[in-house]
């Protein structure tokens, strides 16, 4: 089980959180301007990296805030957590 440093609450056990998938998927501002393919890409296509991954997490059983996390999918190292709207930290793969 991870120990996740919620940017609002501090370190808490993983059981309080749920992962909400890849971070930084912005909803297109004008959906009608997109082709079906582009819209489908926004809807369905997600990265599946072996390495650093930007993820959105929800402190479901805590402060209920969403935040972003930079986590390594092999070592599970959590390099950074940052609030929604803050820039993603640099990734050295």
């Amino acid at each position: 089980m991870f120990l996740i440093p919620c940017p609002y609450c501090g370190e808490r056990d993983e059981s309080e959180f749920s992962c909400a998938g890849e971070a930084h998927i912005d909803r297109p501002l004008d959906p009608d301007a997109l082709t079906d393919e582009q819209w489908g890409d926004y809807l369905f296509h997600r990265k599946n990296p072996k390495g650093w991954h930007q993820e959105q997490w929800h402190h479901t059983a805590g402060c209920r805030r969403y935040f972003n996390m930079l986590r390594h999918t092999v070592s599970y190292e959590i390099k950074a957590v940052y609030k929604i709207g803050e820039p993603a930290p640099e990734i050295e793969q």
């Binding site: 089980m1 991870f2 120990l3 749920s18 909400a20 912005d26 909803r27 959906p31 009608d32 997109l34 079906d36 819209w39 489908g40 809807l43 369905f44 959105q56 929800h58 479901t60 209920r64 805030r65 969403y66 070592s75 599970y76 929604i84 709207g85």
Partner: protein, 996 residues
């Protein structure tokens, strides 16, 4: 008796009587089951699972593959207890496993005679065909091969879990672990020291060495008492660290009571510690491995180190005449121990010579050493002799043999560091060519291995290693290490080994006497060679094909040797064969310990009950689980069947008045200046113009355009909305809305609160509902025009504020009365009393489903399945054309507008008494042609007493255009039920009743 006159760490003043296979056996306090049996000269303790060969005790600890017992009977019974670790107590009931009818006379040992027909993969190969016989085969195989019996009664014991944080967790309290704990503790670190045994000391308890000028066992006592006096050091004995997870999260099973008689037990049987450690020191020691030879599974074949343990720790003379078979000089200690215990011993050493202090002291004792020799085979069961052969050169035997009569063959093929937890933590190992074992290499967590676990096999090195690791861990955790000296010891012999995994037995190693690798699973050298010949080259595949290491011991004795044999069969170095994966648990953990206090009771999953639950129980309701909620299902009267009860409830509701507990529907308050705009984006329809105290039905789509949830939302005030969700959707919908608000629309000022549990809701439904509700609620004008359909009013009942919503999920005139949950039952009872003149009838979820299906109202998740759009439901009217909302763009995708989508229709079966099966597949022809294209499925289906016939809803391809056509519902028994496609409204199609 084989007990020595003195010595050992047992308490000879405290005899302990227990039973083994029904016979009384006496040991001493401090004995394990295994040591007590050996002291009583009981060597045959079980049968192997495949060939049912007789088996004896091999080891002295967690690695033991054979000495597995069924401890206690009835509800207290525990299978597969390792006799080498389980302490005896008065009255303990111990039974052997895996033998029928008894260990001495085993009917199934006939399998051993057919061993050549039971090779690796035998079950896969033989019982494959015909497939339908597999169940029968499996039954017989399981009966023949069971490893102990699960308890059949509820566990009367209880279990605990606890969380702990520490600076340094030291795993293992041998010489290394004690020094590490001392160094970390002296530095001021908060330390947990956990050891699986009933006493601290590890191998020091088995050895006759001197530490710090005193016998090892008394040095251990001194260390333990010093550690006990440190307030920040916690000592856990009988505590197995069984899992090493991410971020230094480790799990420990503490067996609090298993060493005491059932009558003496107090408190929980076991406690699982969930520890988050800043630093971990793995002082897990090493497991000795045997050298493989013919019939090496016979009772009387043991590990050399275990022999030392039984002599020094338990005061047992394990044999009259022994052969010690070795490829290293550490095992010579066992020869000295045997000699001291009065056992005549012959050493068989595969090496050409050996020279060290230890070897020389053996030579001085005139103990016979046969260099350049191997043990080819054991004779007798239990062992009565060893067949010894000379080596001409590595792998090649001279002609001729010596027979040495003996009742014990002890072997030592070297040591395997216990790298299990290191591997679980993500660490990697490398092959050490000098010591012939895997040692820790890459470390990925805040952790260090020390002592034998790190490949340091001498006591002097372990003491120094432990001190250094403990100090380093404490420093890394932010403390300052103090200067300590490493205690002196006489055990300084360096470890010297030459490679030998098995006795050579000719060019075809699969011929002749079986050399066992995994005695628990009957995997032999021949099986590994067979697997390699059949093309299994990956060690993971070989493991699965042969079942090597699959037992309760997880291959702690045999796996590394098995990998070496595979390397030999493939002609590769061991390093390139590698190890199998080490997974939790290190040793088996009871289900009770894992379940903890949740076992068997209501703590496993919360049960949610509404404020009126007690009333429902008192009025005979049967309940159904909806998520965690217990909802009334129906209220049978007398000996009514469910169908009869539901028919009565529906008719009473449509003809007069019914009432239902609607408290479980999700309720979310949405507040803020941008609340209406927020709803505009979440729901498909528009909310800006909804008047205060007005209600509107809304649909929520996923961004993929599929229906996700539905419900009525009421505007309580300009900036305050009250949203209903489905019962199951309450939590996911709140998460969903918060996600959009927080991540995409932070500019909106909106606040959301779950209020599901705050409000109790009574739905009063039917043509007489106005009379009932208006008789109870004060402060509301119930005139049909003053309080129209889809509006909401505030009133009171006996001074308690209520909010009455005129909304309907049945198509009837209906009111939902909401009140603070504290007054929920009072309001329900007032409404029930007021309804009695109208025969008010409580109904449950089953009647609710029928009533809504009569009206064609969908239930999200029953009539939809995540692939259904509002268009597919024929609900285009609910989709705004003038604004964007979640999922809107997806509805224009080609796939959502194509022909052939499944659409919601009604079905009327040709026989009005036939209720179509829900989930039944819909086909166009009543044909047995294969394949028969499927065109949809039945989603909801009931008998409707109000309509006087069966009704159903279904999703059918292009269903809107197929009104009036006849389709067929295929049933499991092959019948084809004809039905006509209709509109999905069966009652009051104009919808007049709800406006009444």
């Amino acid at each position: 008796m084989r007990r020595l006159a003195d010595g050992g760490l047992i308490d000879r003043n405290q005899p302990v009587e227990f039973t083994f296979d029904g016979k009384t056996v006496t040991g001493y306090k401090g004995d394990t089951i295994a040591s007590a049996l050996l002291a009583n000269d009981i060597k045959l303790i079980g049968r192997s699972w495949k060939y049912h060969r007789p088996r004896g005790i091999i080891g002295d600890g967690a690695e033991e593959p054979n000495a597995l017992f069924q401890v206690e009977e009835g509800a207290y019974t525990t299978p597969n207890v390792r006799g080498t670790q389980a302490e005896i107590y008065p009255g303990m009931v111990v039974n052997s496993t895996n033998a029928w009818p008894s260990v001495k006379f085993d009917l199934l040992s006939v399998f051993g005679l057919f061993a050549r027909f039971l090779p690796a993969g035998f079950y896969y190969k033989t019982f494959m065909w015909p497939q339908k016989f597999w169940m029968f085969y499996e039954h017989m195989i399981r009966k023949a091969s069971g490893l102990g019996e699960s308890p059949r009664e509820n566990d009367p014991e209880h279990y605990e879990k606890t969380n702990a944080h520490c600076d340094v967790l030291v795993v293992g309290a041998g010489a290394t672990g004690l020094m590490a704990a001392l160094a970390a503790g002296r530095a001021g670190a908060r330390v947990i020291l956990a050891d699986e045994q009933g006493a601290f000391g590890g191998r020091l308890l088995s050895e006759a060495g001197i530490v710090d000028g005193q016998p090892a066992a008394s040095w251990v006592e001194q260390m333990v008492s010093e550690l006990q006096n440190m307030p920040e050091v916690r000592l856990l004995k009988r505590s197995t660290v069984f899992g090493y997870h991410d971020q230094n999260y480790l799990t420990i099973a503490e067996r609090i009571n298993d060493h005491q008689s059932i009558a003496e037990r107090q408190g929980p049987r076991e406690k699982v510690w969930r520890v988050r450690a800043k630093q971990v020191v793995l002082a897990t020691g090493a497991h000795e491995r045997p050298i493989l030879f013919g019939h090496n599974d016979r009772p009387g074949v043991m590990l050399a180190s275990a022999v030392s343990t039984y002599i020094n720790r338990y005061g047992i003379k394990p044999a009259n005449r022994a052969v010690l078979y070795t490829n290293n000089n550490a095992a010579y200690q066992a020869a000295l121990d045997l000699d001291a215990a009065g056992v005549a011993v012959t050493i068989v050493d595969c090496r050409s010579d050996a020279d060290s202090a230890l070897v020389n002291s053996v030579k001085q004792r005139k103990i016979q050493i046969l260099f350049n020799h191997v043990v080819a085979e054991a004779k007798g069961a239990p062992v009565s002799a060893a067949v010894v052969k000379q080596l001409v050169k590595p792998g090649v035997l001279a002609a001729g043999e010596k027979i040495i009569n003996c009742d014990l063959i002890a072997s030592s093929g070297g040591w395997n560091p216990a790298i299990h937890l290191l591997a679980q933590s993500g660490g990697k190992v490398r092959w050490d060519d000098a010591q012939h074992c895997f040692v820790p290499d890459l470390i990925v967590q805040q952790q260090r291995s020390a002592g034998a676990a790190n490949g340091s096999f001498t006591l002097a090195a372990c003491l120094a290693d432990g001190l250094q690791a403990g100090a380093a861990a404490a420093t890394a955790a932010g403390h300052t290490a103090v200067d300590l000296t490493v205690p002196a010891t006489d055990q300084t012999e360096s470890f010297v080994i030459s490679e030998l995994w098995r006795s050579p037995n000719g060019p075809k190693p699969w011929r002749g006497a079986k050399q066992f690798i995994d005695p628990q699973n009957d995997v032999s050298v021949a099986d590994i060679f067979l697997a390699a010949r059949e093309g299994f080259h990956s060690v993971e595949h070989v493991k699965r094909y042969t079942a090597m290491g699959f037992g309760t011991d997880q291959g702690k004795v045999g796996n590394i040797a098995g990998m070496a044999v595979l390397a030999e069969a493939l002609g590769q170095p061991i390093a390139s064969v590698g190890t199998t994966t080490f997974r939790p648990n290190y040793t088996p953990v009871t289900f009770g310990a894992i379940a903890g206090p949740e076992i068997g009771g209501t703590l496993f999953d919360p049960v949610r009950k509404t404020a009126m639950h007690g009333w429902h129980e008192e009025h005979g309701a049967l309940f159904e689980n909806v998520g965690q909620w217990h909802r009334p299902w129906y209220y049978p009267q007398g000996d009514e069947s469910m169908d009869e009860a539901v028919n009565r409830e529906c008719l009473a509701t449509r003809n007069s008045v019914g009432m239902m507990d609607a408290s479980t529907l999700g309720k979310i308050e949405i507040v803020g200046p941008d609340a209406a705009e927020f709803l505009n984006r979440i729901y498909t329809n528009a909310w800006t113009k909804l008047g205060i105290d007005c209600a509107r039905y809304g649909f929520m789509l996923g961004e993929d355009g599929m229906v996700m949830d539905d419900g009525v939302t009421i505007r309580l005030d300009e900036n305050r909305f009250f949203m209903h969700t489905t019962t199951g959707g309450a939590a996911p919908v709140l998460n969903w809305m918060e996600r959009w608000l927080q991540t995409e629309w932070p500019e909106l000022e909106v606040y959301m609160t779950s209020v599901t549990d705050h409000w109790a809701t009574t739905a009063v439904v039917g043509p007489n509902s106005r009379k009932v509700v208006s008789a109870v609620v004060e402060g509301i004008d119930f005139d049909k025009d003053a309080f129209p359909f889809m509006t909401s009013r505030k009133g009171t009942i006996e001074g308690v504020p209520v909010r009455v919503n005129r909304i309907s999920f049945s198509g009837e005139l209906a009111y939902e009365v909401n009140v603070s949950a504290h007054s929920g039952r009072m309001v329900w009872e007032r409404l029930y009393a007021a309804g009695e003149p109208y025969n008010i009838t409580p109904y449950g979820t089953e009647s609710m489903h029928v009533l809504r299906a009569e009206k064609g109202f969908v239930i999200v998740g029953q009539d939809t399945d995540g692939s259904v759009t509002p268009v597919d439901l024929g609900m285009n009217w609910i989709m705004s054309k003038t604004k964007d909302y979640l999922g809107r763009r997806s509805l224009e995708r080609v796939d959502c507008t194509r022909e052939g989508r499944k659409q919601l229709v009604g079905l009327l079966s040709s026989d009005p008494q036939v209720v179509l099966p829900e989930g039944g597949q819909i086909v166009n022809q009543a044909s047995d042609q294969i394949p028969l294209p499927m065109h949809g499925h039945v989603t909801s289906s009931y008998y409707s007493a109000c309509v006087g016939r069966s009704i159903a809803m279904a999703l059918v391809k292009d269903g809107f255009q197929r009104q009036g056509e006849t389709i067929y519902v295929a049933t499991a028994d092959g019948a084809m039920l004809p039905a006509e496609i209709t509109k999905p409204v069966f009652y009051d199609p104009e919808g007049e009743r709800q406006h009444g």
